[in-house]
């Protein structure tokens, strides 16, 4: 028996980067698209708006797609966790390994 399961390790790192950093990055792309058309940071002293909706139709569409992908990925993740947590979704519960 080895001490470290390298197969699990690299998968955790890879999926961790894709889901843990990639999904928020996609959310960020959605935010930027959504706010496209908002006036850029003003040089003057006026207080900047925190409005997120820029009103650019293409930007809004892109944002919707980004947010949708993020939501679907989260839903899929929860489903996977449920599947792992309830192995044997058959009526007869699988006999768990008996411990001595």
């Amino acid at each position: 028996m080895s001490w470290i399961n390298y197969n699990a390790l690299w998968k955790i790192i890879l999926y961790g980067v894709v889901l843990g950093a990639g999904l928020p990055a996609l959310f960020a792309v959605g935010l930027v698209s959504l706010s496209r058309g908002n006036k850029v940071q003003t040089a003057g002293g006026e207080t900047e708006s925190d409005s997120l909706i820029g009103g650019n139709p293409l930007g809004m569409l892109l944002a919707a797609i980004c947010f949708l992908i993020v939501l679907v990925a989260i839903g899929w993740g929860i489903y996977e966790v449920y599947k792992i947590g309830h192995p044997a979704a058959t009526p007869a519960p699988a006999p768990s390994p008996s411990s001595h």
Binding site: K11, G20, F27, L31, D50
Partner: protein, 382 residues
């Protein structure tokens, strides 16, 4: 049968542990959201409590690890379980008093291991399982979480650099609500399971359940309620250390940290590692400090935490072993009752100590001045 009295006591103590687990760990999910103002403190703890309840039902995979992977189950008696729980609860309460986010899982595992060793000797411990399933993941998981969070933070700032500061802050505060919810859910799928495993172990040790039985529904329900009540109570001291003590957090960093934590926790449980949500969350928060230019990580606070982590397993084990020896010295049901009375007294003293430097939803976000409890503006003092 006097065993039934012991069993009831053990179940109550286990639920007590689950409760401390809840309030010790609220910060893992919600500290960054509270720190950035994405959620009002009380809404955050209520939401986290509810999601822990859901999460406890979502996955039932992890419950068996504590029962079968770490100690030889034939050596476990009800007294051993009670003593192990005493060790875990004591360590959880002490670290909470000092606002140190230590691992509840390690406290529980340490307590059970210590009690088992005192009862049956070192051969009853599965050392390989302990090292490969607990100790190595404990070292690796915060590092992985930190890397993911650092990368995420860098990406979020890079992508959103064209947005105004105010709009960016607004947008990521909304995102943070979602990512914090995922961490709460992940916490329920992980940590509530550990208590379910211990209660199931006690039921098996008592002969109420056959060997290899799954957790009965009432056990799942009670554990889910206990952990979510604990979460709702809110471990404000730990929340403060995580949210304000380590790194000053802005909302893009908060979202990056939470996403990294949720991903690493859920993935690791998928591969069968029941790791510490606390270690992962802390690693993520440090990572998010590393990923943003100009952000400062308070390494002294981080070092204090790491020290506590190293001591968690052995300290809980020593208390667990002591409790087991004491219970055996007194003997039988009375021994377990003496243990639990002492535990209740210790808990009372710690609670009383915590009152003198209160941290709650009112002052949790006060400026970090190097201590867990913010200085109280005293009317007369200089």
């Amino acid at each position: 049968m006097s065993n039934d009295v012991v069993l009831v006591l053990v179940v109550i103590t286990a639920l007590g542990f689950d409760f401390t687990n809840g309030f010790h760990d609220t910060g893992n999910a919600m500290a960054t959201s509270i720190a950035t103002g994405a959620l009002p403190p009380r809404v955050a703890v209520a939401l986290s409590g509810a999601l822990n309840l859901v999460g406890a039902f979502l996955s039932l995979a992890v419950a068996a690890t504590i029962a079968s992977g770490l100690v030889s189950t034939s050596d476990v008696t009800l007294t051993v379980v009670a003593a192990g729980l005493a060790g875990g609860i004591t360590w959880n309460l002490v670290t909470w008093l000092f606002g140190i986010p230590s691992s509840s899982s390690h406290a529980l595992i340490g307590g059970v291991i210590g009690a088992t060793m005192a009862a049956a000797g070192g051969h009853a411990i599965k050392w390989h399982g302990l090292t490969s399933k607990v100790i190595l993941p404990a070292v690796l998981s915060p590092v992985i979480a930190a890397l993911v969070a650092a990368l995420g933070t860098w990406l979020l700032y890079r992508i959103s650099r064209s947005m105004t500061e105010a709009a960016r802050s607004h947008g990521f505060r909304i995102g943070q609500i979602g990512s914090a919810c995922m961490v709460s859910l992940a916490h329920g799928t992980n940590d509530a399971q550990k208590t379910m495993g211990v209660i199931t172990l006690a039921l098996i040790a008592n002969g109420t359940l056959g060997a290899g039985a799954n957790a009965p529904f009432w056990v799942i329900l009670c554990c889910a309620i206990a952990i979510s009540l604990g979460t709702y109570l809110g471990g404000w001291r730990v929340i403060r250390t995580l949210g304000k003590g380590l790194v000053e957090i802005k909302s893009p960093q908060g979202m990056a940290a939470e996403s990294a934590s949720a991903a690493v926790i859920l993935l690791s449980s998928g591969f069968g590692y029941s790791l510490s949500t606390t270690h992962v969350a802390t690693g993520s928060i440090i990572g998010t400090g590393l990923g943003k230019k100009g952000a400062e990580v308070r390494w002294s606070v981080a070092g204090r935490m790491a020290t506590a982590w190293v001591f968690t397993l052995p300290s809980a084990a020593i208390v667990g072993a002591g409790a087991e020896a004491l219970a055996r010295g007194v003997g039988g049901t009375a021994g377990v009752i003496v243990d639990l009375l002492i535990l209740a007294a210790v808990a009372g003293v710690i609670y009383w100590r915590s009152r003198s430097s209160k941290v709650d939803h009112n002052n949790v976000n006060a400026e970090w001045d190097g201590s867990v409890a913010p200085a109280v503006p005293e009317p007369a003092a200089a």
